[in-house]
């Protein structure tokens, strides 16, 4: 994070879904500032709401979901108040673009990939005909696709998984966005390809001066790319800070648990830690700290009142009662303390 200019600011965001007649609260009052040029990672388990959270920046929530309250401020617009498709069309692609999780299904199987990238180029760069095609070929080259002239006329099934993800990234880049959201960009890929794709995303971020938001449950990815980390649990960000702060000085019991369950190279013979229990049912109203029922060291107050943010440094904020001056001293688990510096 080189400067402190906010590019997108989320205030008290609440997102709800209607499911089989019941109402589910997927995002429960999230506050988050995203700064220009940074690379932010949002981590959390499946179902913690990280994907829903970022989809709401682009108006891509499923039809049964809606923003119940709160603001999403982007360039003097409150995206949370957008109601028509036309308003969103000014944001989607042009301002905020997205790379999807599964490149095997994200491309139209019946359209050449050249044409699919060209759609972005024509729409957002105003180029036509041969100019547009040349631009597509340049972008394909940028994302590391060799023989782009030949590849232009090929279909998705003629590409491998990693190559398809490059095409998906090309489509996003071709929109010339300010913010690029990468929704689990490497989850569906081979381990060897993952590193290549992450490197590509890092290079593109520099080249096109993008602000990137990674959504992932893979802490390895986070360590690799993120300047800042936001840990999400049950629809709320419970800890946010610079990468070093969250990795080396985590404060929330959930973050401890998450880091403990990360396999460490070089430590043999110890069983891998796993978090007991399941995330709370979001159909019910959550009282207190959402993680308390799974936290063996939870305090009484954790079950009664939702903790506010406690500020550790100007960049590091955590929602846990453990940081209250009246709280008893609870030490983080050993495995966290022993987490070797420099390994990440």
């Amino acid at each position: 994070m080189n400067n402190n200019k906010k590019i997108l600011s989320v205030e008290d965001l609440v997102i709800k879904f209607r499911l089989r007649g019941n109402i589910l609260t997927a995002i429960r009052g999230v506050n988050l500032d995203i700064f220009e040029g940074e690379s932010l990672a949002i981590v959390g388990e499946s179902g913690s709401g990280k994907s829903v959270f970022t989809k709401s920046f682009m108006g891509l929530l499923d039809k049964n979901g809606w923003i119940d309250s709160g603001n999403i401020i982007y360039k003097n617009n409150n995206l949370a108040k957008f109601s028509t498709e036309d308003q969103w069309l000014k944001i989607r692609g042009k301002e905020i673009a997205m790379v999807f999780q599964d490149p095997m299904t994200a491309l139209n199987p019946l359209k050449t990939i050249g044409k699919q990238v060209k759609e972005s180029v024509e729409l957002h760069q105003g180029l036509k005909g041969k100019d547009a095609k040349d631009q597509v070929i340049r972008i394909l080259e940028d994302v590391g696709i060799s023989h782009p002239e030949k590849r232009y006329n090929q279909y998705a099934h003629e590409f491998s998984g990693g190559m398809r993800q490059r095409v998906v990234i090309a489509i996003a880049i071709a929109c010339r966005p300010n913010i690029l959201i990468c929704d689990e960009p490497t989850t569906a890929l081979d381990v060897t390809i993952q590193a290549q794709i992450l490197k590509l995303l890092k290079d593109l971020k520099r080249k096109y001066s993008l602000t990137t938001i990674y959504i992932t449950h893979d802490l390895g990815v986070v360590a690799n790319v993120a300047d800042r980390i936001a840990v999400m649990y049950a629809g709320d960000i419970i800890e946010v800070g610079l990468s070093e702060e969250v990795f080396y000085n985590p404060q929330h019991p959930y973050t401890w648990a998450l880091l403990s369950s990360l396999p460490q190279l070089g430590t043999k013979g110890e069983p891998l830690y796993s978090i007991k229990g399941t995330p709370p049912n979001l159909f019910n109203k959550i009282k207190g700290d959402a993680f308390a029922p799974r936290n063996p060291k939870a305090l009484e107050i954790d079950f009664i009142e939702k903790p506010p943010y406690f500020e550790i440094t100007p960049t590091h904020k955590v929602k846990t009662w453990l940081l209250d001056p009246r709280a008893p001293k609870v030490e983080p688990p050993k495995s966290i303390k022993n987490m070797g510096r420099g390994k990440l």
């Binding site: 891509l60 498709e85 692609g93 994200a106 199987p109 996003a172």
Partner: protein, 308 residues
């Protein structure tokens, strides 16, 4: 692409040869009365044998089969025996097919022209009023036996509009109702499948990506969803077009249209062996040709097919 077509063509020809052989074999198992017409009772055993021999039916089987193929290659389907004695079957068909074709193609055009847009409208309006009305129509058409609404249309609509109840070659107004009646079923099924395939496509990830890159809804529908939804239907269209020559038994008898509908049933009832043989051959060939064309059509629309 060319090798794919060639491969499918060879497969089709092979299937056709098998079917012709099976039809030939089955016909030899039919009672031999069918070769004599009304005169069967009056002939004695030797006369019958003499006639069968003159028709080549006492030759060894492999020779019969070979002759049968030769005849077919010349385009000779044989002569009718009982239905219209001693008349070339190709002439019988030539008289009848144009009627069935005219109504069949008309009805098909109409059901496509109404059914596809209806399906699209239903998909776009998922769970809205149009979707519900369309579903109601589809359910009614499928649940009520066709005979009932065919009859209903014939009796009441002709009465209300004061148009003739029966088909007349020289009065185009009398062509309308049979065409419309015949298209109702097709309309329902085209609408149903189009809606279903559209909804399938609309929920796919690539549509979400298209939306995320900023395409507006119309462009997504026209450039992405519509074509992809149409591909699975494309396979059946050639068969459907070809089979219009078979006509509709019910419509043709209701409006007394001298078409192909019911010809096969009549031929079987009256044991006109050669006519049955010719018709079964024609219908099964149409089936095979239709599938072949459908596969080619689909391969043109879907680039993935060439590989598999």
């Amino acid at each position: 692409m060319l090798s794919y077509i060639l491969k499918r063509l060879i497969q089709s020809i092979f299937t056709l040869i098998i079917i012709i052989t099976i039809v030939f074999a089955l016909m030899r198992l039919m009672p031999e009365e069918g070769y004599f017409g009304d005169g069967y009772e009056k002939l004695d055993h030797f006369q019958r044998e003499a006639i069968l021999e003159s028709m080549g039916l006492r030759d060894p089987l492999h020779k019969q089969l070979l002759d049968f193929y030769k005849q077919l290659l010349k385009g000779d389907l044989g002569k009718s025996i009982i239905y219209r004695p001693k008349v070339d079957i190709s002439i019988i068909l030539k008289d009848k097919i144009p009627y069935s074709l005219q109504f069949g193609l008309g009805a098909m055009g109409l059901s496509l022209a109404v059914g596809l847009p209806l399906g699209i409208l239903m998909a776009l309006n998922n769970k809205g009023l149009w979707d519900k009305l369309g579903t109601a129509y589809i359910v009614i058409i499928n649940a009520v036996p066709a005979a009932i609404y065919y009859l209903f249309l014939q009796v009441y609509v002709t009465g209300i509009l004061k148009i003739p109840m029966l088909y007349s070659e020289y009065n185009p107004i009398s062509w309308i109702l049979p065409t419309v009646s015949m298209s109702l079923g097709g309309m329902a099924s085209y609408a149903m499948w189009m809606r279903r395939y559209m909804v399938d496509e609309m929920n796919k990830d690539y549509v979400k990506l298209a939306r995320a890159k900023g395409l507006n809804n119309n462009k997504i529908m026209v450039h992405h969803v519509l074509r992809n939804a149409f591909v699975p239907m494309a396979q059946y269209l050639p068969s459907a077009i070809l089979f219009t020559i078979a006509g509709s038994i019910y419509i043709e008898s209701l409006y007394s249209i001298p078409g192909m509908g019911g010809l096969l049933v009549t031929a079987i009832q009256r044991q006109d062996n050669t006519l049955v043989q010719a018709l079964v051959l024609i219908y099964s060939s149409i089936g095979i040709i239709g599938l072949f064309l459908g596969d080619i059509f689909m391969a043109i629309l879907d680039p993935r097919i060439k590989l598999s």
